[in-house]
Symmetry: C2
């Protein structure tokens, strides 16, 4: 049975930053998660991370991982089933039934958007986007459709319309929206996204809309599946964290998208640094009190 000072679950920007900083504090560190994030692999260009202008998501994450791999950090490419407090340590249940032991765990698994409509995932990064901040500028002067499922989506449509061209808002919020004269609002349910190399049209029961870009603005799904007992923030979706990235569970920290919006790389890396340093301090203090 393997025992680590710090186990990081999630190998995206937040998890890698957490691992880097815990390792710099001389803790034994294991990172568990896929080598490449699907979301970053589909991100053609990132312009708002300082130090790597105009980098693709894949190149950025590869460079992050190479940097962490220079340190004595172990990597494991699999999924963890459950994380739970075993009293003296934190247990991580592997798919093969084995239990990994850690003094501190950092949860950096990101968020999932649950059900999507056919074609939505397939065309992500090729005409379909889930992030107004990230991708609005790609559609300057072009026709875009914003499919809004949550309360914030009308706000996103307004922002996108300031940057992009002709904007249509598909209102799936369940409430009336006021979007001014420049944004067309349609109250109907989209069935699928279709296209050839990239997304080209949004299919409804009785009609079809064409556009250059399609934004799907949804709420993420609840973040406590992996960690029973994890307290969620007021939105009922994200992990609630203190200023030092600790959760309500002793020794368990969270960072990155799982802690809330905006979902952005520099924020994830900064939170990862803080979580890594906080977890390392927790381990050091625990060792001191056990002496």
């Amino acid at each position: 049975m393997s025992r680590y000072d710090v186990v990081v679950v999630g190998a995206g920007p937040a998890g890698l930053s957490a691992a880097l900083n815990a390792a710099i504090r001389h803790k034994s560190v294991l990172v568990i998660g896929p080598v490449m994030s699907e979301k970053l692999r589909r991100t053609a260009r990132i312009d708002n991370y300082l130090g790597m202008p105009g980098c693709s998501g894949e190149a950025m994450l590869t460079q992050f991982r190479d940097q962490v791999a220079e340190l004595p950090v172990e990597f494991l490419e699999e999924r963890i089933q459950t994380i739970y407090d075993m009293g003296d340590f934190i247990g991580l249940l592997r798919e093969n039934g084995e239990i990994l032991e850690a003094q501190a765990v950092i949860v950096a698994t990101g968020i999932s958007f649950g059900n999507t409509i056919p074609g939505e995932r397939r065309f992500l990064g090729r005409g379909v986007s889930a992030c107004a901040t990230c991708d609005a500028a790609l559609y300057r002067g072009k026709a875009v459709i914003v499919v809004g499922y949550n309360a914030h989506s009308a706000e996103d449509a307004r922002f996108i319309s300031e940057v992009a061209g002709r904007t249509t808002f598909i209102n799936r919020t369940g409430r009336p929206v006021q979007l001014g004269d420049t944004i067309r609002v349609i109250e109907d349910k989209p069935i699928a996204v279709e296209g050839d190399a990239a997304a080209e049209r949004l299919i409804f029961k009785d009609f079809t809309l064409e556009a250059d870009g399609f934004f799907f603005v949804r709420d993420a799904v609840k973040s406590d599946e992996l960690v029973p007992g994890l307290r969620l923030s007021d939105d009922g979706i994200h992990a609630a964290v203190e200023r030092d990235m600790s959760t309500n569970l002793p020794g368990i920290y969270a960072c990155g998208d799982i802690t809330g919006k905006p979902y952005q790389i520099a924020i994830a890396v900064g939170q990862g640094q803080l979580a890594g340093l906080s977890a390392a301090e927790y381990v050091t203090k625990r060792a001191a009190s056990h002496r």
Copy 2:
């Protein structure tokens, strides 16, 4: 008189990240502050910022600034005297008496450690350090002296001693400390740091201590000088911020070291991103409500 959507005060990692992200949201942005941070200029090597392994502080900040300068962001190299709410806008008083106007202001001025002893500033980065996390690894196996002024400094000394060699703690906390057998504790007042090319010895009234590294662990000075009415956090030193980096004053945001410890670059860049996006959203909403 110039009016900007967002004025960023401070041109370090936090301020530049804030400017980058507000500009990406299509706001007019001015950054005010020195081209090079004295603290980063003296930092020979930074290993815990993802994407730029083993970079010097000066090279890192230069690359950050070059990236932001690619965007339509203005820079002004001077000091702001005071920031205050003018009702319809936020005023920034320049040294020449002129007032700059902004809809939102982001305060990213870092922190200051106030009075130091002779030689402490001069040898910063050459044998003198103010950051245990950053620099402990530089003194592996070497003799270090930790001069501790605040409650956390004994903790820092313990961490440094795990990494470095023989460790001496100069207790200026005003309280007794318990540091175990491996750390020598001295209760006396240091007068100066002396050396040739680098710091070599700490001078007391009646004796002198030699070492390879000297850590000065102090509290920062209060952060509300620039912004009258700014609420401080519970420590009475740093700016109190909400999750979105807003302060108690409408339209005024804060990010980076001024918001609290640990003082780290990735944290500053992540907070800057969040402050930049929050300030941009504030400006957009304000414009919508004025329509």
